[in-house]
């Protein structure tokens, strides 16, 4: 509450004030031309002569085990090239390695158990076409043992619930927790806190499983061929495409770990993979395609999934019940939180290619408030509802903002005041965002007490705001290689497939800025496998990557100036780089081109001092939302969405603001429509297609106003910070609805039935 963040910019020139290209518009992305024209090739587009298709058998039940398989008829079908079953020795041994941070064990790559409807299990078929594969799959005679299933994590936690993964935990459906996070923790003394409170209230927040809906259904294309750079042991090189890369170079990591080969045997195929929105799930195809191709002598094999099958990985359910105690002035003094979380069919994020990672939302967000007494309890249960992915939003802040709204509602206060009163560190970031956002949104003229304003057309009007972290992910070292070539241009290779954040293009701006180069003389280019290490692949990490690029640029500039100075016969202090020319400071008309002066190179590997995760994040953001609620139909219209985001320093405005538009558009879909629905009787997914699972269209996209704030408090270059992660949450719309109708709705999405139910129109 009112605290100030003291952050010292670190590294060279981080406090730069004079910007020529950083922060400017109209710089088309390096790969934009190809993405627009269609020349860009995605894993679904690659087609080499003789390409075969692979499809896996999918479990038709909510949970079932293969009792027996007869593939004899399928093998006879013309065009079928290979059928492997779960009994195949090589498949049964995979994955050979999983990343160490997946602590909860692993499952076979292709087992005999279908852990949810649509789960790949039992067999995989390779044929000349999708039609042939489908026919072959139909010809496989399977005897299934149908097993009990549970779809709701709250049910999975009840005594007597069927134990779904006895090998992981024979006693209950609760799984372990990644990074050994404690299941229960307490700060201060919660009992004492509640005694001091003037008010005690309970809030509830729930969200169903929902789908990130990555635009390209998983497709993995792989083949084996001679290593063009020579290979001493004569082995072929494995070529693969990417779909979800976390860590970076996902295809290389997945394929090499799955097969237990060294990474130098695997080469990435394309810089395009379509989007990923913090999705850890690399599908089985990443490991199946290389193995199937190798078994067939290296011919290209594409593992395909249909759109419906792509619903086999979803963001998990999570449910909070939180008791809050607060004073008459709105100060939070006690929090008692219970979070029941779904860990999906595998017992965590990630498919069987990787293992299991469990990161429940928990009460972490409350640690950023000044509340002295917090108790958190978590339970996370395996269910049969698909495997789970990470949440692209910041779900730890959902109960925090709901608590603020409850305080505001109880005390008839403005929620923006409650936020400022309770968040621990408000200066400079939160304060700046709140001020800029309120002004842009016209908060003071729009806010009113809950349920007190109707629009002319009779609809209820509501507004709300909520705060959150703007995170910089700095847990990874960034490897930046820069070289000046004989053509006088600066080159930076990168090796990760793009996901839409334009981080290489932001890096290009930073390098040009630091070196004094014209933008067109800085060339960032895709080079598969070149530095087999992290750059800025994940959305929020791009900003940390710019920091390392800055350091590399400074070093290379120094080398260039030393070389140029000796050619001029002066000292390095007497020259500078101006618009790609070595320029004599004393007489700027004397310039020398970089062309032909030699080849110079630097490598910088390192990271700023940004922690992976902290209780207090220096950079914040505040989103504002205005809704109209139709009391007759329960329909909600988002009239205005405004986001004041502390970018620290906005390096490439077009893509930085684009990230906000992306996340808020997705959040609007989550808030109003998106939800995975299964048949409770059979466990079968009911809305696994684009008609029944509705992502926002151009007509659904709300008006989005982006308000960039720059406090220079982040960990990236010039104090920049991450973007999209902070905004993709549904809760804000729920708070605006509460302001409209005066009722809290405990479960997203906020569909008409729930609105009408809350209003008492329907039961």
């Amino acid at each position: 509450m009112g605290g100030t963040s003291t952050w010292v910019l670190e590294g060279t020139n981080d406090d730069r004030q004079d910007f020529k290209v950083v922060g400017t518009w109209n710089h088309p992305g390096r790969q934009s031309w190809d993405m627009v024209s269609g020349a860009a090739k995605y894993p679904t587009d690659l087609y080499k002569e003789g390409t075969l298709v692979a499809m896996a058998l999918r479990c038709p039940y909510g949970h079932a085990k293969v009792k027996s398989l007869d593939i004899s008829e399928a093998e006879k079908l013309p065009g079928v090239k290979l059928i492997l079953t779960y009994e195949d020795e090589e498949l049964a041994s995979m994955p050979i390695n999983v990343p160490s941070y997946y602590e909860l064990g692993r499952s076979p790559l292709l087992g005999d158990e279908g852990e949810f409807e649509g789960d790949e299990c039992g067999a995989v078929v390779v044929g000349v076409s999708e039609e042939v594969c489908r026919k072959a799959l139909d010809l496989i005679k399977v005897k299934w043992e149908v097993l009990p299933f549970v779809l709701d994590c709250r049910e999975a936690g009840k005594p007597g619930a069927p134990i779904l993964r006895p090998e992981m935990n024979p006693d209950s459906n609760m799984t372990g927790n990644t990074f050994g996070a404690p299941v229960k923790w307490e700060i201060g003394n919660v009992e004492k806190g509640f005694k001091e409170a003037d008010y005690i209230e309970v809030i509830e927040y729930g969200r169903p499983m929902w789908n990130q809906f990555r635009p390209m259904p998983p497709a993995y294309f792989s083949y084996w061929d001679n290593d063009p750079w020579g290979n001493p042991d004569g082995e072929k090189m494995c070529y693969v495409t990417n779909h979800a890369h976390f860590p970076s170079n996902g295809p290389i990591i997945s394929a090499s770990m799955g097969m237990g080969v060294h990474e130098d045997k695997v080469r990435a195929l394309t810089p395009y993979m379509a989007a990923r929105y913090c999705d850890f799930v690399e599908k089985r195809g990443a490991q199946l395609a290389p193995v199937l191709s190798r078994r067939l002598g290296g011919v290209p094999v594409r593992c395909v999934s249909t759109r419906r099958q792509a619903f086999d990985a979803n963001v998990p359910q999570t449910f909070f019940t939180v008791r809050i105690g607060f004073k008459k002035d709105g100060t939070l003094v006690a929090v008692q939180s219970k979070n029941v979380h779904q860990t999906g069919a595998r017992g965590g994020y990630g498919d069987k290619t990787h293992g299991h990672l469990v990161l429940p939302a928990n009460a972490q967000g409350f640690k950023s408030t000044s509340c002295p007494n917090i108790y958190s309890e978590m339970e996370y249960y395996v269910t049969n509802g698909a495997c789970t992915t990470a949440d692209p939003g910041k779900d730890a802040w959902e109960p925090v903002n709901l608590a603020f709204a409850k305080i505001a509602d109880t005390l008839k206060m403005d929620i923006s005041e409650v936020i400022m009163k309770n968040v621990k560190i408000t200066k400079p970031s939160l304060e700046s965002c709140m001020e800029a956002g309120k002004k842009a949104f016209h908060w003071d003229s729009k806010w009113h007490l809950p349920g007190t304003k109707r629009l002319e057309d009779g609809r209820f009007h509501g507004v709300a705001c909520r705060s959150c972290w703007s995170m910089t992910w700095g847990m990874i070292s960034y490897n930046i290689n820069l070289r000046m070539n004989t053509d006088g241009k600066i080159y930076m290779p990168y090796s990760e497939a793009l996901i839409g954040t334009y981080w290489p293009d932001a890096v290009q701006l930073v390098i040009a800025e630091e070196m004094g180069m014209k933008l067109e003389d800085v060339i960032v280019y895709y080079a598969a496998n070149y530095p087999n290490w992290q750059k800025g692949d994940a959305a929020d990490r791009g900003s940390t990557c710019t920091w390392a690029a800055k350091e590399a640029a400074v070093q290379l500039k120094k080398q260039i100036l030393e070389t140029g100075a000796s050619l001029f016969g002066v000292t390095a202090d007497e020259v500078d780089l101006v618009d790609s020319m070595i320029t004599l400071k004393a007489d700027p008309s004397k310039q020398m081109s970089l062309v032909g002066i030699g080849q110079l190179a630097v490598g910088y590997c390192g990271k700023p001092k940004v922690p992976f995760q902290n209780d207090v994040i220096r950079t914040m953001n505040v989103d504002f939302c205005e809704v109209a609620v139709d009391p007759e139909t329960g329909m909600v219209e988002i009239l205005d969405y405004c986001s004041a985001h502390d970018f620290g320093k906005l390096i490439r405005p077009s893509s930085g603001l684009g990230q906000l538009e992306m996340a808020l558009t997705m959040a609007s879909g989550r808030a109003l429509r998106e939800e995975i629905i299964w048949d409770p009787n059979t466990g079968v997914l009911l809305n696994g297609n684009m008609y029944d699972y509705k992502v926002p269209t151009s007509l659904d996209q709300p008006t989005i106003e982006t308000v960039p704030v720059e406090t220079r408090c982040g960990g990236g270059a010039y104090g920049s910070t991450g973007v999209a992660h902070a905004h993709c949450d549904a809760g804000l719309v729920g708070l605006a609805i509460q302001n409209a109708i005066g009722k809290f709705i405990p479960m997203a999405p906020y569909t008409p039935d729930k609105i009408l139910g809350a209003m008492g129109t329907i039961s």
Binding site: A39, D45, Y47, M216, P217, A274, Y691, Q701
Partner: protein, 238 residues
Amino acid sequence: MNGKVSRRDFLKAGGAGLAGVALSTLGIGTILGSETTAGDAQAAPGQELMYVCPVCGEKAEDFDGLRKHFKEKHPELESPKNMVLRINGADVGVYVEDHWTLRETLLRAVGLTGNAKEMCDRGGCGSCTVLIDGKPALACTTLAVECRGREIETSEGIAADPAYRPLVEAYVKYDASQCGYCTPGQFTVAKYILNKYPDPTEDQIRTELSGNICRCGTYSRHVQAIQEAAAAMKGGKS
């Protein structure tokens, strides 16, 4: 006609520059995309036409070879079809099966993948939108055999058309693609919008694009880009 049309013919008819010729068979050679090269997208097939038996995968030299193979190896099955499709102003001879969609045909037989993107597989996303006789059509729900004698336009052809250069310029200027998967479909509809409305309003653009899903939420960028292109093209008629 045996279906063989030389690559030179394609390039002539499609008006594409030479940038596409040197592509590897995987078509990822243009990844060093730049204003001067990649904007001249291939309007013509990016790979040699393939005559691969869809039943057993055996490769034939040409269409006649494929028919012969069918007669010998799969006498019980119907012989494959060869047809001429008019794509981006060029006549393209392709081997096609009756049940192949235009999307499949673009991917498997033609090698133009801009509008072969499949997001939904059932007419719900628009990522496979081509123009057929100037109107948006979903390639995933249009059979290739229905397209005989009709004018098919793909994103590659539009990008290679100098008249639509301002549209390409505006798209890249406004980052109208994030991950880019839906973009060729949106861009193809953009040409239709520019032809339909000389001065398109935001509402008109959003309505026309409402069948094209973008999970990356780039919609407002398309509005900006199309309006700017319309102004630059003074009505946008090609």
